[in-house]
Symmetry: C2
Subunit: 593 residues, 2 copies
Amino acid sequence: MVELNIVNLLMVLLAAWLGGIFANRIGFPSILGELLIGIMLGPALFGILETSDALNILAEVGILFLMAYIGMEINFKDLGKASWAGFLAAIGGFVVPFALGYYTILFFDGTQLAGLFVGIAVGVTSLATKSRILVDLKLLDTRIAYVLMAGALISDTLALIIFAGIIGFVDAGSVDSIGLAWVAGKAILYFCLAVSIGIYIFPLLGKLLTKAKLTGRTLLFGILVIIVLGFSELAELAGLHGILGSFMAGLFIREGIFSRQVLKDVTGVFHDVSIGFLAPIFFVTAGFHVTLEIFQTDLALLILIIVGAVVGKILGTTLFYLPSGYGWREGFTIGTGMNGRGAVEIIIAGIGLQMGIISQEIFSILVFMAISTTLTVPIFLTWTTNWLKKRGELVKQAARNGYLILGANPLGLYIAKQLAEQSEVILIDYNKDLVNEAYAQGLKAIYGNGLREDAFEEADALSKNTFIALTGNSEINLLSAQLAYNSFYIPNRIVLVSPVEDGAGVNLLDHMDASSMFANKTDLVPWSYKISTHDFKESIEKVNKEITTRNWVKKNSNSKDILPILILDETGHKRPFHYKEIIRPKESVIYLQ
Amino acid sequence: MVELNIVNLLMVLLAAWLGGIFANRIGFPSILGELLIGIMLGPALFGILETSDALNILAEVGILFLMAYIGMEINFKDLGKASWAGFLAAIGGFVVPFALGYYTILFFDGTQLAGLFVGIAVGVTSLATKSRILVDLKLLDTRIAYVLMAGALISDTLALIIFAGIIGFVDAGSVDSIGLAWVAGKAILYFCLAVSIGIYIFPLLGKLLTKAKLTGRTLLFGILVIIVLGFSELAELAGLHGILGSFMAGLFIREGIFSRQVLKDVTGVFHDVSIGFLAPIFFVTAGFHVTLEIFQTDLALLILIIVGAVVGKILGTTLFYLPSGYGWREGFTIGTGMNGRGAVEIIIAGIGLQMGIISQEIFSILVFMAISTTLTVPIFLTWTTNWLKKRGELVKQAARNGYLILGANPLGLYIAKQLAEQSEVILIDYNKDLVNEAYAQGLKAIYGNGLREDAFEEADALSKNTFIALTGNSEINLLSAQLAYNSFYIPNRIVLVSPVEDGAGVNLLDHMDASSMFANKTDLVPWSYKISTHDFKESIEKVNKEITTRNWVKKNSNSKDILPILILDETGHKRPFHYKEIIRPKESVIYLQ
């Protein structure tokens, strides 16, 4: 009987945790640290840690959960909205390195199957890597970020589909055309079945559970685990690999089936369990299978694969991106951003090793390829985006667009009108007169309660990038921002906090990672009154040195009674003036007095 | 290499899920359904499911997590506050069945060690079983509930300590006195070390993590898993069992180390993962080790153990409870409530089986003992509490006592004064004049912000049973109730909702399982004004037939402008009038007009 060796598991987890945190600290994704520490402490180098049956089993469950979580994070709508440019980048970034990887392996006398596996591994793009880097480089609202995200999604989906196609034939081996048709048929049957279950059975199940009052978090987590394992088993039965099943299950576990709030909780549990506990076991133990002998025996292949991966990804993306019309420089930048390989690559390589399709040497090469390409991303991407910035070619565009403003009072309308010059703005107010006034001023507005989901839904909150709560009641602002955060995941939340609020509101702001509007406690009433009676002056002040909004307020608040409302950048783009903002040189502050 | 057999895991989980839900539906804890379905579908009966290495490993991790979670749920303060009565019940309910179990095994020629193991298993009391039943039987605010909870806590702690004492000697075997001293020394050393780490190192760690900004949920979950496994490994090194370590780790993972909110989230993840996924695997597979042959070969022993368990537990509790002075009937009732055995018993029996201390037959007997005693609890407890109720001996007393009222406005003070006749009441207000007014009226009040944790802490919110938010601002009431719920776990939350609130507030009420004060939307201002100018009359109306508060309001609201504030029961006890209340026959409604 296999027993759990606690100390082994403990050491692996501790190593993973330390490696992950160290990697994070220096700006890289945790997986990089986990792989490196696995190589270092595992048999390859120091031999302190070793694999065990318990680790393998937990790692396998971890991969299934991780793939399900990756699936949950992919939104069909996002995929649907993925632009032509994202599609081009994904195809180019996949096909060219895939071909290079494939032919390199064949050139070195590898099997066709090994070539295909390496091709997929080289073609994949890592998603997790990027979002962190995009935040660090403050690129989240640029077109590059949008294309990168969409590109990675498409590329991952593509890689998994091709992987599914290949894996079906591995077990079958070399068979006649009827056998091949049977393999393909099974795979297609599986996809049809999975999609039907996802689209038709899941909502029924959700209704059934709600009816039976089985809506608790823990219960739902249990059933989601069962669904994920069920899809995995179905995929295995169809001759595909279990990870394809859990990924598909994740895709279909969506809102509408379960309540937004509970689903968010349960998705969080999947996230914590896979990324905080099980998946790191897989990545550390993946390092155990690495052999350092390749640096002597297979150095040429190692270098060729890595160079092929980097050059193929960047050039492929640049080339295929040309028809987008956004210029080769943006394509090149996107190529550097898509150059990372992460979880999905290591998982595919691990499956290849486990099935005996690729050798330990090639697996090791693929791990080092993942490590080195991931290392390049922040460095290359910093260079290329700075280069674009300097040339003034860094185009802004967010996947989520525009503003949702709660409160169509005079101040709200005043700010909304200016923001609406470049962005989509929609207002919500519970006062019909104010809503009509908004319409009269040419703004979109919805009559509804800012504490209710239906009003948010009507305002298409899921597509909005920034939520601004501008009612005179801080508590309503806070509650509403919480709703925007918890149920509609609006990435930026800015809240007006009134001066009567004593720290509590600010505490809550921190808790929900929101920012305070005007970077200061502000009483709405006098300003709204001034605006409605036209008793105010709008001024603009250019900033010469980078300054935080709070310091700007400190510097300017003593002399006169002013209200900074917007920041105007060089391109004429306006953004709200709030606590978590920095005013850069040559930008201006628009303020009322 | 051991591979994960998805279909096996899937079937076990599905079985566990269905069994658990079925048991829940008919009023029993999930573990009962999980054990039964394991026996039914496992080798004992239909042989559809079978154990596997993967299942064993996941189950073992599950037990460690579950014990950690059980530890997390035990509050030192609660243990410290456990009354003399609870202590008596715990001792009596443990010692008598322990002795019966031990001597029964010896009588049947079992080893001393087996006797001790069976003794512990028979002596244990299940915690999870009861809280659900207490809610169903509406006993949560009675002295019985309080004693039951404290008793189960003490009994579990006692059982685990004795288990620790025994397990240390198992590996050592029969050794000389120096060897025994070494075993005992190691165990004591372990406890000292674990306590020191818990008390001194954990807070340091918490500070360090906060300083390093490592406060994310996922990261914290990772480190808690490492801590739990670390404590388990330490326990193993000291010759004790890993579950003792994870239990101790859970005990010390407390507030103060991490922020309340994050800790609540992470505790939730432990709960979901252990109770929703891993532990059910253990309980279903525990059923696999059951043999039904005992009904032929060991029927006498089976019956003796079960009868001894039931009679020993109930009589032991009744006897030892006598010195409390609360009467033998209450002791008997508590005995029937403590009669269930659950997770801890099965875990201990499983360890005994795994270590070869008890045979498969005795293990099977212990499983059936757990099942049958658990079955008795709702039945017996319903009988005995009804019997007490009829005799008028069901004494009210809640572990958490008294009211925390936000808003010391005239209406708040008026209600507070009446509630303070029997219960402890403390008010919070942000207006110093109102706080002083409260003091002048002989009430305890705190000057503080109802949206801040510090005010709640000053008001000793953790010991309060009911939170009433009575400010004129519904949003503040809601936010504050949320804080009361999320950070201070106050079980009852009653919120004044003003008429301007349009459904949203009510939605939020549901979400946080709160009730609306006065069972109706109410405008605070006119009533506060009436009270401060003494322009009102207090009336009282007796109810003859059971009626919900909302129906009472419907019936009475048409005729006159009244505000029902309290319900007065036969014993002269007053409780707030709110939406989720029922007025029973012979109770009265106190209302203003």
